[in-house]
Structure formats: structure tokens, C-alpha cells
């Protein structure tokens, strides 16, 4: 019975473009747009959760890595005419390299200082994006980023991009699962739960923190690349601290350290503000009220509600 349920859900997700066309033909483009955003945000939130949920370091610097990836892809695609897949790869690599470099000094900071340090990183990155006009064109934005193409296969339509975003999400989900279970996941969790004890078990806490931080940044950079290829524009506003707030809401209200929780969080908190546009005046009030409700009724996020329900 449950198997059937998952199968139906899987088919529905895969067939979403046709379902949308059949159910809401007039708003097809808009709904697909929201779905694409949801998939990209889910992938980004999962990468963020690797650091926040699994090694327990409260990083507020994720927009910086997303931005480095987004700008790398935007510049390579418009100026150097790199192909889609190579610039996505380069974007992930660039973000990972930046993370590895800044991670070494940042992880010398204790818990709260680390959060402030990474917040500083995000602010600096945003200032650089705005002011390094020769490279990023600052507030004028980088425009004309080509639509993705996988070899001869152009991803030009909304449904095609939806499937591309979904494929990217599936890749991130499988990486997330591989990294957070078995021996690697156990080492991450040991460092998160009790750092001195982890060291007494032979685990190098800094190495594992850096590893999670770097991989997370690489994934965020790659998602950034997909994002700019979708929008075809990259502006500094895409990587402000507001993005951190979104990610914090998704991860903490969804369920920190849980695949299901973060996915549910991404769907709810990306799609919900859009659905609420039906009541424009009250939109943000309702959204804020719902956030408060989750925080008060279920501090462990929606994931803990789901766990209680399934028991």
C-alpha cells in the first residue's frame, strides 16, 4: 500500500508538466516556474543541510558559494562560450575551492563566532558582486546567459528545464544520502555530537567539517549555475543574506539533518508563498503566522511532526 503511494508520487512528480497542463492550462507556465524553483531550492537546501544538520556548524555563508558558482557559470557561458555541462562543473569546482580556502581560517572560530564569520563572508561576497563591475557588471547584471544544452539536446522549454532541475535534485539527493549514512555520515555525526570524543576515536574534526563544508559549497555552486542558466540573468540581488534566511527557514522548519524534512520544507516554503498570492494583502501575514505556528507547535520542524504521526 505504501509502495503504491510512493510510486504514484514518483510518477506524479515525473509527469508534472503534463499534469499541470491538464489541470491548470492557463497558468501552466507560472506553475512550472514555481516547480522549477522548488527543485532548485530543495537541492540548495540539502547542500546547506550537510553543514548545518550533519556536522552541526551554523554557516550563514551559503549565498557566497551559490553566488561564486552562479557568476562563474554566467561569465564562462557568456564570455568564453563554455558548454553548459562544463560551466556547471567549473562553477561547482570554483565554489568548492573558495570554501576550502576560507574554511581553514573560519573553522578556527568557535561555534557562534563561526556563524558570524560566515555571515561576514556572505556580506563581503555580496559587496564584491555589486562593486567589481569589470567582472560582474555590478548592478547592471550579466545578461544573455544561454539556455542549457546537453550536447545536441537543447533545454529550451519550461518542461525540459523542469526535468533538468529534477535530475539535478536527484543527483544531490543521492549524494546527500551517500554522505550522511554509513561510515562517512557516522563520522560527521560524531563530530557534530561531541567533538572531543570524536577526536578520541581517531576522527580529525577539522577534516570532516571542512569536507562537508567544501562539498556543500560545490553543490551550491553547481545549483547556482543551473539557476542562472534558467533565469538567463545573474544580478547581485540573487546572493544577498535574504537567501540565507530562506535556507534557514527551509532547513530548520523542515527538519534539520533529515532528507525528508528538508525536502518537505523546500516544497512548503518555496511553493507556499506563491500559493498565498491568491490572497495578496494577507500573503506575508499568513506566511509569517504559519512559520510561528511550526516553531511553537513543533520546534523540531515538520520532520518531527511526521515522525510523531507515523508512530
Amino acid at each position: 500500500m505504501r509502495r503504491v503511494g510512493w510510486l504514484v508520487l514518483g510518477v506524479a512528480i515525473l509527469a508534472a508538466p503534463w499534469l499541470v497542463a491538464a489541470v491548470v492550462p492557463r497558468q501552466q507556465r507560472y506553475v512550472l516556474h514555481v516547480l522549477i524553483f522548488t527543485a532548485l531550492f530543495a537541492a540548495l537546501a540539502l547542500s546547506y543541510d550537510l553543514v548545518v544538520g550533519h556536522v552541526g556548524s551554523l554557516s550563514l555563508g551559503h549565498p557566497a558559494f551559490f553566488g561564486v558558482g552562479a557568476y562563474t557559470a554566467a561569465i564562462l557561458a557568456t564570455q568564453a562560450r563554455w558548454s553548459f555541462l562544463t560551466d556547471v562543473f567549473a562553477a561547482g569546482l570554483a565554489a568548492a575551492v573558495v570554501a576550502a580556502l576560507v574554511g581553514v581560517p573560519l573553522f578556527r572560530l568557535a561555534e557562534h563566532a563561526f556563524a558570524v564569520g560566515t555571515l561576514g563572508l556572505a556580506l563581503v561576497a555580496s559587496v564584491v558582486a555589486n562593486n567589481w563591475v569589470q567582472v560582474t557588471r555590478g548592478p547592471l547584471c550579466i545578461t544573455g546567459i544561454p539556455k542549457p544544452a546537453l550536447g545536441p539536446l537543447a533545454v529550451a522549454t519550461l518542461p525540459a528545464f523542469y526535468w533538468l532541475a529534477l535530475a539535478a535534485l536527484i543527483v544531490v539527493v543521492s549524494l546527500y544520502r551517500g554522505l550522511t549514512t554509513f561510515r562517512l555520515g557516522r563520522a560527521f555525526h560524531a563530530v557534530r555530537d561531541n567533538e572531543p570524543l570524536a577526536a578520541s576515536a581517531g576522527i580529525d574534526p577539522l577534516k570532516y567539517r571542512l569536507l562537508a563544508f567544501t562539498i556543500a559549497a560545490g553543490l551550491a555552486g553547481a545549483v547556482g549555475a543551473l539557476y542562472v542558466h534558467y533565469l538567463s540573468v545573474m544580478c547581485p540581488e540573487e546572493m544577498t543574506v535574504a537567501l540565507t534566511v530562506n535556507l534557514l527557514v527551509i532547513v530548520f522548519l523542515g527538519g534539520v539533518g533529515s532528507l525528508r524534512g528538508v525536502l518537505v520544507g523546500a516544497v512548503l516554503f518555496t511553493a507556499l508563498p506563491e500559493v498565498l498570492r491568491l490572497a495578496p494583502t494577507w500573503r506575508l501575514v499568513i506566511y509569517g503566522g504559519l512559520l510561528l505556528l511550526v516553531v511553537i507547535r513543533s520546534p523540531g520542524g515538520i520532520e518531527s511532526l511526521l515522525r510523531r504521526a507515523s508512530r
Binding site: 551517500g178 554522505l179 554509513f182 561510515r183 562517512l184 557516522r186 563520522a187 555525526h189 560524531a190 557534530r192 555530537d193 561531541n194 572531543p196 570524543l197 570524536a198 577526536a199 578520541s200 576515536a201 581517531g202 576522527i203 580529525d204 574534526p205 569536507l211
Partner: protein, 251 residues
């Protein structure tokens, strides 16, 4: 050659000398206790040996190899296991996983191998699970294997931490107050476990305030006071030593 050799170790905190020129040699297979009044530098000495604190002077040698200044995880991988005075577990991992953490880092494995879960790694993991279950039975926590460590009682957590230290089959075991705040029944169990380890030829250094435990178990007792070694010898001699009595009860 001694298994563990501490030579002229010095550790100062803001002008207070917590460990002052301490020499200590432990031979393979010995069971040695480190005693002394509160603040005499026992735990500080442990922390210097295991890399949690840097020394301000002196050297620490393990199997003749210089450990001075090595990071804790490196010391651990050389075969030195320790427990902590405060109950120390991974609260959100299950009891079984708590033990598994202690073995996996001692097995060389590539990051990619872990991600892909090679057959070799799966076999090692199965062996580790088997060993962890045996240790859980040994400390009487077999039924708690899947409970999160945070949900266990104080004494159970203490036993779990003890089992964790045994997981990698270390050459040298440093136990920091294993009997503190443990009920008498469990203390007897713990004494049996430590004696078993000793019989198996393990080298154990014990920091302990419970004199029954110290006197019953140790072959040799080392006494610290104000960071200095004031006496060393078999338990009976230590019990009668004038300096030791003075350190504990005052003049």
C-alpha cells in the same frame, strides 16, 4: 623499553603550574593508578599525553615515538584510547553506532570507498557490528543497542563510553575516573572488566578517587600533589607513605 614514557612534563595555566616536571613510565601489560587530591594535575597529565593540551615542557613517548604536540586523533590512531571524566557519548547516535564510531577510523579507507561502500568496507563494517554487539553484551547493554545514547541512564552511558574505548582494541587504555558517581554494583562490574583487560595483557592507566578500586586493582600507584609526583610504589607502601597521608589529610 616502556610502552608509555613521560619525561619532565610541564603544563602551566596562567602562571599556575598544573603539571610540574612529572616523569612516568608504564611498561607493557602494567596496571597503574594515578591518584592525588583534587587539582593535583591528574587529568591535566592525561590531556597532555592524549594531545588535548599542549605541553609547556618535557616529552611524551609512546613505543619510543614522540607524541608531544600531536593532535588527539593522531594519538588515538596510534593505539591510545581514553575515557573522559564527564560522561561522554554521542547522544544522538544509537548505542551500537556509538561503538562503531570508535573502530572505523582505525581502518584505512578512501573517501570514495566510503561513498561507494566497497565490498571490503561492507565486510569490515559487518565485523565491526559483530564486535560492537559483543562489547554491548559484555557491559550489559545488549538490549539498548538501538536506543539513542542520550536516552541512557548516567551509569549506562558511562559503561557505553568504557566499551567505546575498548572497541579499537587499544594498546594503552587511559581511564579517567571510571568509578566516579557509579553505583556500587556497577563499580564491582567495572573492576571485573578492568581486571579482565589486565589479564588479557592490556596496559591500563587509571585516574581514580575511589581508594578501594585503586588498591584492589593496581600493581603500582603514582601519587601527584600540586602537579608534582610525590610518591610511587605498590599499593601497600603508598597506603603507609607519610607524604601521601599528608597530601590527603593535611598536616
Amino acid at each position: 623499553m616502556a610502552l608509555l614514557e613521560v619525561r619532565g612534563l610541564v603544563k602551566r595555566f596562567l602562571g599556575v603550574t598544573a603539571v610540574d616536571q612529572v616523569d612516568l613510565a608504564v611498561d607493557s601489560g602494567e596496571l597503574v593508578s594515578l591518584i592525588g587530591p583534587n587539582g593535583s594535575g591528574k587529568t591535566t597529565l592525561f590531556n597532555c599525553v592524549t594531545g588535548y593540551l599542549g605541553a609547556d615542557g618535557g616529552r611524551v613517548l609512546f613505543r619510543g615515538r614522540d607524541l608531544t604536540g600531536a593532535a588527539p586523533h593522531r594519538v588515538a590512531r596510534l593505539g591510545v584510547a581514553r575515557t573522559f571524566q564527564q560522561v561522554s557519548v554521542f547522544p544522538r547516535l544509537s548505542a551500537l553506532e556509538n561503538l562503531l564510531v570508535f573502530l572505523q577510523q582505525h581502518q584505512e579507507e578512501h573517501l570514495l570507498a566510503r561513498l561507494l561502500r566497497t565490498p571490503r568496507l561492507r565486510r569490515l563494517e559487518a565485523e565491526a557490528v559483530e564486535r560492537a554487539r559483543r562489547l554491548l553484551v559484555l557491559v550489559g547493554l545488549a538490549e539498548k543497542a538501538d536506543a539513542t545514547a542520550g536516552s541512557l541512564s548516567y551509569g549506562q552511558r558511562k559503561l557505553l563510553a568504557f566499551a567505546g574505548a575498548l572497541m579499537s582494541d587499544p594498546d594503552l587504555l587511559l581511564l579517567d575516573e571510571p568509578a566516579a558517581a557509579v553505583n556500587p554494583t556497577m563499580i564491582n562490574q567495572l573492576k571485573d572488566h578492568i581486571l579482565d583487560l589486565h589479564r588479557q595483557g592490556k596496559t591500563v592507566v587509571l585516574v581514580e578517587h575511589n581508594m578501594d578500586v585503586v588498591m584492589d586493582l593496581s600493581q603500582r600507584v603514582v601519587v601527584l600533589d600540586h602537579g608534582q609526583k610525590i610518591a610511587e610504589g605498590p599499593p601497600d607502601a603508598i597506603r603507609r607513605d607519610a607524604r601521601v597521608i599528608e597530601a590527603y589529610f593535611g598536616r
